[in-house]
């Protein structure tokens, strides 16, 4: 499995919780940016991929023409024939029917809508630039454009959020016809507006935990499988591109701040648009080659995030050799004896009720 990620680092304005690399969009800059992405793609001299994910930022700010140019350009440079899933992220305010129709015509079949909430107050406090109506319009537009695979992001722990408001958000979104939901717990990251000026009505850690648990219940009741810590899907709608991350697969990321994992190396492009536009293929940094111990620990940590699938120790042994796996297995068994993991044959899984405290487990898993 191999994924291709394209980062579109432009937004209309910065959300108050966001620490992703993003800038305000200017049309002239967008044109140059698409060229730069294709130039970086050139530097890879081909490659074949199973999934494509155009994320951001706000990819829908590209507009139809640039999206066409981008996807066409990528298909000339890479082998995208066997793509099993291709996703584009859109924000409600820029997810017009034209754009979605263009995306569909470019063989993009999955759309991920950055909704975050359907509560007006919560949206306002988070600094979102859209309202509730626009979220539902975006879902409708996606359906009307032919998309059958629709995901939305929902945020848990927004200022002023209650179990009831979160429940409303989820119920309305599910009712609108989405089949995948990513529900993230808000974390206050350095460099964000929330970090500089924490809102007074921010739910505390325990409140966040309760909100999360209520979300798990609601989604479960609607038949969504809790397949990853923050991800829920109706049968057949798990995100293949992201599953590849959690299974330790390879991927290439294009664009500033985009990360790659290929040929045993991890690296990312510098989070600097100026440098990227200047020379798209030479801003790599933080390159590291993981030794086996790290690699095994890291992949184990990632795979355990997959709540249902879990970590198959036999599969890991097949990939890394039994000797590399021995100490991992001992660590995992120790966690089982401490009742922090369950073992079922050769598969280890998080205990469903303790998903929220999985950090305590991961610390011991990474070795």
């Amino acid at each position: 499995m191999r994924g291709l990620y394209i980062h579109i680092p432009f937004c209309i304005s910065k959300c108050r919780y966001c620490d992703f690399y993003s800038l305000t969009a200017v049309p002239e800059l967008l044109d140059r940016y698409v060229d730069a992405l294709l130039a970086e793609a050139d530097s890879y001299n081909g490659g074949d991929f199973d999934t494509l994910y155009i994320g951001g930022g706000t990819p829908s700010l590209l507009g139809s023409e640039r999206l066409e140019k981008l996807v066409n350009g990528l298909s000339r440079r890479f082998d995208l024939e066997d793509i099993r899933e291709s996703t584009i992220e859109v924000n409600p305010e820029s997810a017009g029917r034209d754009f979605l129709a263009t995306a569909y015509s470019m063989n993009i079949r999955r759309v991920s809508i950055g909704a975050q909430s359907l509560n007006a107050e919560e949206l306002r406090k988070a600094g979102r630039v859209h309202d509730r109506r626009q979220v539902l319009d975006a879902v409708d537009a996606a359906l009307a454009s032919g998309f059958q695979n629709i995901s939305t992001d929902v945020m848990i722990g927004l200022p002023g959020q209650t179990a009831q408001s979160l429940g409303n958000t989820l119920n309305i979104i599910i009712g609108a016809g989405v089949n995948h939901i990513s529900a993230y717990c808000l974390s206050i990251e350095e460099g964000t507006a929330f970090f500089r000026c924490p809102p007074p009505d921010l739910p505390g850690e325990d409140d966040q935990a309760s909100l999360y648990e209520s979300a798990v219940d609601i989604l479960g009741a609607h038949g969504f499988a809790h397949y990853e810590i923050s991800n829920f899907a109706l049968p057949g709608f798990k995100c293949q591109h992201n599953l590849n991350y959690w299974r330790g697969g390879e991927y290439i990321g294009l664009g500033p701040a985009a990360a790659s994992h290929i040929g045993g190396k991890r690296f990312r492009n510098a989070p600097c648009l100026e440098r990227y536009l200047d020379d798209p293929s030479s801003t790599r940094e933080e390159e590291e080659r993981l030794d086996d111990r790290r690699k095994v620990g890291e992949e184990a940590m990632l795979r355990l995030r997959l709540i249902e699938e879990g970590l198959d120790i036999k599969e890991m042994a097949g990939k890394y050799g039994q000797t590399s796996i021995n100490s991992l297995e001992a660590r995992l068994d120790d966690l089982v004896s401490r009742r922090l993991l369950v073992r079922d044959g050769h598969v280890f899984r998080l205990i469903p009720g303790s998903v929220l405290t999985s950090n305590s487990v991961f610390i011991d898993v990474i070795g």
Binding site: D206, E288, G297, F362
Partner: protein, 596 residues
């Protein structure tokens, strides 16, 4: 001998002693204009904390204004109350002392204590006001304080700026003019004072000496007066910036001797060295073995590192013979050591050095003083570890060590300082008013209050203006009880402490509350209790952690998330497992710095 001058610089902490030493080294041509600040403080820790821990000395050539050539021996002294015995021995090696007073701060408690030590040693004192370059220098006020509080002549006071070098030349002249040359006869039998020592891994313990009579040279057989042990001298020499070998060191001079002394316990500061064939030469008065005042348990974080820690302590003791340690066993922490120190600063420095220089991952328990426990069956126990106290029913009464402290404070803050001292069970001995703006409070205070947070609180109630100094002042009976701390329903012996019965519940609650904030949340509920015997006086629960998950983890995050986990794992390694509970170092010290 007439061209020799042996002197020290003494001062309250931060009054500029090390900076002045640097300027003197420059002006005598020992070092070039500062490439490195504070030459004499060679330990990293000393420089970081801005204090001199171990005394060191340096021999400098000096040509005076009238063209005469002199040898100056600057003997550096530790600048803290924990080391006042060491200071007194260093001063004993001198004929004079430069008493430094910060022009912006004036005479402070340790200025007085040090001046008294110098007068006791019969030294000529040169009073010097430092930091005259600062805009807020109060030279006239300082002069008056030196006169009224120390009884020194205003006309004798020199004004310097150790920082920019102003007045330092005049100071050097005053040193050769005012300080007497050493007396003592080279032809008399050998008598020298050990005023410091250090450990060299190849040559053993190397004592610093002041020769009072006779001379010492390689091949000499010498005797230590305290133990009557005999050693053969391999090498002697002077202190340049390093060691400078010489043929002999003779009466009046300061130097070192190498005698392949492997055991640091053989050499005690204050001991006298005489010639082996003249054992009748009397010892220099004032010698005493250094006496630990404060004890704490030191445990490896990982139980299996116990042997490694023992080896490190053995090595550490070679460098610092004033620490003591012995094996100790704690039900909660496993095998470890009980260490004794001269005082709190000494303890902090020693523990920090163990961690840094000796790379030991350790947990230190709450420091304790030595209690005299009188049992009903007439037995008396000296106990430095609360967990070793007998059951309350067997105890007749308990006595605790007392210090006499001298607190210098601006008049405006006398009230708060007295309130604090009273709250800390102090007994007022006297109040002096050296001038109309400052008061000197003399209190007798339990040492145990001093080692918790007295000094910090004093600084805070006086907005930093109070300074203090103290000396040991015997024992006093106290209405004391042992308080046990239970974590997750098990008593943690290393957290037990001795406290006055009055207010024990209030303090217990404060401690439990602090512990509840210090011990991280776990995946299960942790009850915390304080108890006197079987009576619970305080309780709080640490509720289980409900959420620690890393919510998002996609492509670009993986490396960062892994590093975050690795960092958290490192943090975890710094905690000690007590039963199933991870307890960080701060928890063991939480009795200190409790806000009442």
């Amino acid at each position: 001998m007439n061209n020799l001058r042996n002197f020290s610089i003494i001062a309250h902490i931060d009054h500029g002693k090390s900076t002045l030493a640097d300027r003197i080294l420059e002006m005598t041509g020992m070092v070039r204009k500062t490439s490195m600040d504070q030459m004499l403080d060679s330990m990293d820790l000393e420089r970081e904390r801005g204090i001199t821990i171990k005394a060191k000395s340096v021999r400098m050539p000096y040509k005076s204004a009238d063209g005469n050539e002199y040898i100056l021996n600057l003997i550096d002294t530790p600048g803290h109350v924990d080391f006042s015995y060491e200071v007194s021995r260093s001063l004993k090696a001198c004929e004079g002392a430069v008493l430094l007073v910060d022009a912006t701060q004036g005479v402070e408690a340790q200025t007085i204590a040090n001046a008294n030590l110098a007068l006791d040693a019969g030294l000529k004192i040169i009073p010097v006001i430092n930091k005259i370059d600062l805009p807020n220098a109060m030279i006239d006020d300082c002069s008056l304080q030196i006169y009224t509080m120390l009884g020194l002549g205003i006309e004798d006071i020199l004004h310097v700026s150790a920082k920019d070098g102003r007045g330092v030349a005049e100071l050097l002249e005053a040193i050769v003019e005012r300080i007497l040359p050493p007396s003592g006869s080279v032809s008399d039998p050998l008598k020298c004072l050990i005023f410091d020592s250090f450990y060299d891994p190849y040559r053993g313990v190397i004592p610093h000496l002041r020769v009072f009579s006779g001379h010492i040279a390689s091949g000499d057989r010498i005797m230590l007066k305290s133990s009557e042990k005999i050693f053969e001298i391999e090498e002697v020499g002077y202190f340049s910036l390093g060691l400078a070998r010489s043929e002999h060191v003779q009466a009046g001079e300061v130097g070192y001797a190498v005698a392949l002394i492997r055991d640091a316990g053989e050499i005690h500061v204050g001991d006298t060295i005489v010639a082996a064939d003249h054992p009748e030469v009397p010892a220099i008065p004032g010698f005493r073995m250094s006496q630990p005042m404060v004890y704490c348990g030191v445990y490896p974080i990982i139980t299996s590192d116990y042997a490694k820690l023992g080896a490190a302590l053995e090595k550490f003791k070679l460098n610092d013979s004033s620490v003591v340690f012995e094996k100790e066993n704690s039900a909660a922490l496993g095998y470890g050591y009980r260490m004794g120190f001269l005082g709190m600063l000494h303890m902090e420095i020693a523990l920090e050095r163990l961690k840094r220089e000796y790379e030991q991952d350790i947990i230190a328990t709450m420091p304790s003083v030595i209690y005299r426990v009188f049992l009903k069956d007439d037995e008396i126990l000296m106990l430095d570890n609360p967990s070793k106290f007998p059951p309350e029913g067997e105890i007749d009464h308990i006595e605790e060590p007392i210090i006499r402290t001298r607190i210098i404070v601006p008049s405006d803050y006398v009230g708060p300082c007295m309130e604090l001292s009273d709250a800390k069970r102090g007994v007022l001995v006297g109040i002096e008013h050296p001038d109309d703006r400052r008061a000197i409070l003399v209190y007798d205070l339990p040492l145990s209050e001093m080692i918790t947070d007295f000094y910090d609180r004093l600084k805070s109630v006086s907005r930093g203006y109070a300074s203090m100094d103290y000396e040991m002042h015997g024992y006093r009976a106290g209405d004391l009880v042992k308080v046990d701390i239970l974590v997750n329903n098990g008593a943690v012996d290393a957290l037990s402490y001795i406290a006055p019965k009055e207010g024990a519940a209030v303090r217990g609650r404060a401690l439990i509350h602090k512990l509840s904030k210090t011990i991280p949340k776990h995946l299960f509920k942790i009850p915390l209790q304080a108890a006197i015997g079987s009576q619970v006086i305080a309780r709080e629960d640490i509720f289980p952690r409900r959420k620690d998950v890393l919510a998002k983890c996609y492509g670009g995050d993986i490396t960062r998330k892994r590093k975050l986990l690795e960092k958290q794992k490192e943090g975890k390694k710094k905690m000690k497992m007590v039963g199933f509970v991870e307890v960080p170092q701060e928890a063991f010290l939480s009795l200190m710095k409790i806000e009442d």
